[in-house]
């Protein structure tokens, strides 16, 4: 299962984090710092999967943005690697016109895709349906 999703920029600053197991805040910051350190120090030709304590971390880089997903040993790394791409494609589909700050919306999208550490939806239109409906309500 998925234990967390983390988005950081090249400076190592967290842009989004979502945990699917309860974790206290001090451990969380330590974990993020470690993961950021690990991910930033890896080159492109290295494996996209790293070990972090008892879990594995799958990460993917999009220019200056890094997405790291923590998973348990029984998860399929490659499928998560592609899930990240799917997530990014959904973001791209949704935010294609207006580029702006949207921490809440990204979270809402993520909530549609992953719940309790399980992949609950991967169909892009299904993922965006609730958010689009909300936007329509706000507009109209």
């Amino acid at each position: 299962m998925i234990t967390f999703v983390l988005m950081v920029n090249r400076q190592g600053q967290t842009r989004l984090c979502r945990y699917y197991q309860s974790i206290n805040m001090s451990r969380r910051t330590a974990l993020e710092a470690n993961i950021v350190h690990t991910c930033l120090s890896r080159s492109r030709d290295q494996c996209s999967f790293v070990e972090y304590q008892e879990s594995k971390v799958v990460f993917r880089q999009y220019a200056a943005l890094y997405i790291a997903v923590g998973i348990t040993e029984d998860e399929n790394e490659l499928s998560i690697y592609e899930l990240v791409q799917n997530f990014v494609e959904v973001l791209d589909k949704y935010f294609s016109r207006v580029i702006m700050f949207n921490l809440d919306r990204v979270h809402i999208i993520l909530d549609e895709m992953i719940q309790n550490g399980r992949i609950v939806e991967t169909n892009k239109s299904n993922i965006l349906a609730p958010l689009n409906a909300l936007d329509k309500m706000a507009d109209g």
Binding site: L16, C17, V106, S125, M137
Partner: protein, 1127 residues
Amino acid sequence: MSDVVEKTLTALPSLLSFDSQPGAAKLSSTSKLASLIRGITELTSKHEEEKLIQQELVAIKDQVSSPNTSMRQMKELMVRAIYCEMLGYEASFCYIHAIKLAQQGTALDKRVGYLAVALFLHESHELLLLLVNTVLKDLQSTNLIEVCMALTIVSQLFPKDMIPAILPLVEEKLTHPKEIIRRKAVLALYKFYLIAPNQVQHIHNKFRKALCDKDPGVMTASLHIYLQMIKENPEGYKDLTGSFVTILKQVVGGKLPMDYNYHSVPSPWLQIQLLRILSLLGKDDQSSSEIMYEVLDESLRRAEMNHNITYAILYECVKCIYTIHPKDELLEKAAKCIGNFILSPKINLKYIGLKALTYVVQQDPKLALQHQMTIIECLDHPDLIIKRETLELLFRITNGKNVTVIVEKLLDFLRTSKDDYTTIDLMGKVAEVAEKYAPDNKWFIATMNTVFSLGGDLMQPDIPNNFLKLISEGFDDGEQDRMLRLFAVDSYVSLLQGEPEKLPQRFLQVISWVLGEYSHLREDLEPATVVRLLAHVLDLKQASSETKSWVLLAMTKLCEGEAAMSVLQGVSETYSSSMDTVLRQRAQELQNLHLNPELWARVLPRDAFTEPLEVDSSLSFLDGYVSEALAAGAAPYKSPHQRQEELAQAKAVSMEPYGLSLPISMSLSSLDGRQSPTLLSMSSGLSGDSTDHSHKAGTTTLKLDKVKRVWGREGYLAQRESAVVEVPSPVHSADQIEEVGISQDPTPPPVADQEKQQLASSLFVGLGSQTSSSLMGKSEPKHQRLRKKAKDPVSSSEISKQTSNSIFPPPISVDNLLCNSNMDPKKSLPSCTQMTESSQGSAAANGTCAAEGEFTEGDVQGPEPSLFRDNRLTIAGSCETEEPVGMKDLCLTSYLPADCIGANHSEFTPLCSSHGVHLSACHVHKDDTLVLLVFISNSSNSDVHQFIVQVDSGDVEVSCLSESPVEELRCHHVEVCQYSLTAKRPSVHLEVSGLVSFNMPDRTPQTTHFSYKLPLPSFIRPLELSTEEYGTMWLAFSHDTKQNLTLVADVQDSLRATLDVLERKLHLHVVAIIGMEGIVACRLLPDQPCLMHCRVHGGTLAVWLRSPVPDLPDCLLYHCQRALQEV
């Protein structure tokens, strides 16, 4: 890459930089957050960040509590608070406002309220109760979006106790007309199932309805519940196997709507989910598995697209195939698939391949064999994760024969590892395999020393506990026990003489115990020496009081001799005034016991472990004491549980004086019939007091008793130690090992390669010997069974000889089969299986090479395999064959030299023509050579002069046989040049090139080139050998290759028929056919032998070729393949 991806890649950085662009003022309120983010991005120190966030939090706090804040503003504040919490700054004052926002907001504001709740609160947060009413209200809302939100939060976070309040509403949504509501309701029920399974027991039939929902999304959601339920109880859902198979079939077949595709792969994550469910259902269940075979095969077939996501599916498929009841055909495909992964240059695929292999080798360790070289490369891979995964794999294939090498590799990694988690993990693994498979005492002690030193105090306590238990319990063989203990004592004495301050505490404890218990075994060792060494440990600054207590206990056992006494006297005086009560107690014991030698001898008898310990677990001997104490007004006994509760309440110092769980540990030790080291304090009658460590130890030993410890129960053979140095692997020739020993070998292979080969041979040794592949665990090394035999008192010298052979499994199983013809066929059987299986293993790897070697057949000089088609007929040497033979051939036949008539010659191949001069060639098979005949015919009407033919080749040694070179070629005349050819080096086809030059009648010089290709089999001659000779030669050859070939079908004895084909077409010599195996020999002209071992296995012919000549096995294999394909 698709457009979408590219677009994504370019758009994202700006998109996700979370900057608000000046022009995008759709929501101006976000600008505050934007400026916060921008501010933080610009900061350079953590300290500045903290300052900024604290300011921000103060500002947020101000605004959230203001009554004038609108819901929209509140939403914006919440997002900012989320941001602050995300950076690690608590904003707990916002939690209640988040709930309020969820309650009072509308649309997106409400959603953000719910979102903030989900992010801020955890499952058992008390504020969560305040959300229940809001959820209830929203669930009943007529606004679908609100219902959606409520279901979303419920499926993320909901107080367990309040489930009954909303359950009926959620259930009702299962029949909602909108699929999104149904889907979310299913997910909510999944959450309920996770946190309170019994609450949803009554709606299992509704899950089934969801599974059959016409909307794929709802069905997909229900799979989460099923996966969970099936994990817990696979038996209960076998009837659904067919349904899952049908669903998967439809998904794989692309029956889902297009928008479920990801990069044109139909719903990959759904496929993965279904495969996981199937593997749970098919595990150990043949009939369920049989339903799945077809769809699994289809999944493998469909997932051929070159994309990560298809590889992810394949990985899951492979795992499933190896989990369910096996089917050979699928296993073969899956193994091939793993091979592709592992050999991939893409590192992510390599990783997933290793992971798959690690999983698979638990079922079938032989699979590791075919990838041994890749695995060894991965072991040195610069990427740590690949290395780590490889070690994991090695750990799984550890057996009695490769344990030394694998442990060495694990320890190497440990020495460089900086990560505590990895260290602890690997430490346990080393200890586990060392205990199970240690080849001898010395190695075991040395390995454990390394483990204890490297592991330090990170180590799980069960490792030292187990180790001590093993040493004290010993084995059935007293002499071996003594040797093991002696080794330990020797090794520890020298460690203490070195730098004991560098040793970790746990190790010092182990050392103390062993020395206390067993140092008397070494007779030349004065107790005083040991006592002094131990006293030195006591003086170490870093020695913990726990360690000191172990040391004192050890010293107590060593009260012997005057020199020791004087040291002990000093020690006991020092510690009898220690602040530490445990140490003080120990010192008292030491003092009193050494003053009273009789008592000492009674409470600390030597070799106490040999006598069963009688334990009065009811402690009845204390009854008198207890009643006296009660009469005197003492408080009644309280159980540890009760006492602990009270202690916790009183927050008193935790001394746990009676915390020892006596009944458990006592009964354990009496069961064992031996004294467990960790319970020592009790057996010596010294302590009801013993500190909590013995208590803990007692419980760990209990757990550990379940652990199978092969090594501990097996006896030892004294000669073992010397011989364990190098065990040849079944896939490795003996002569390579010889080569290593005798370094004067004229042509040693490249050193690096050789090292790798060697490593491979030692790492993968013995993998094939596990005859039953279905076992998850490591089966006991075969030789151990035989070792027990050696203990048999009747063992004559003959038996022991046999045993010593079996301990180190025969270098190569073939010689087992071949040389020991007098051997019981049953005995040789396992080794044969072993070999064939391993040969089968490498088939996939070789397959690619063979494919690369494929030739285009249309080539003029192409080595038509059909050359041989006529062989039989031409041997008769007659032109009256019924085969259509060209006119030219007919005439050329008449020019065949006398000694070639009647020999086996090939078709005539035109080589070149120039100005009426035609060159043709054929080759003639003779026993000791291959004769190339070049026919030069002059069809023009004039003679040509100064005729020169030169034949040359890099592959072939050419010598001219014609006595006199042709100089003149008269018109309408044919001249024949004869050359004798032998192969210089093997190749699939050997090419001879030539140059013809002559002068035309008008003196104009003409030159023409030609080339002639000879297939390798032209150079192959049968090699007649006896089985014994074959066996000896087999051992001596270093180059080998393995592959599975197709058998000649539809005949009764397919092995015989297949070998006949090979014998006929490739001129091999069948040495013998024994049952399902055959051995074949041939030589490459002039005299390079090549041996082949064949075995029928699973409908294919597993062949294994060996030769002293590099490439010869591969090239010959290629022709074998071709020959059989044509059948």
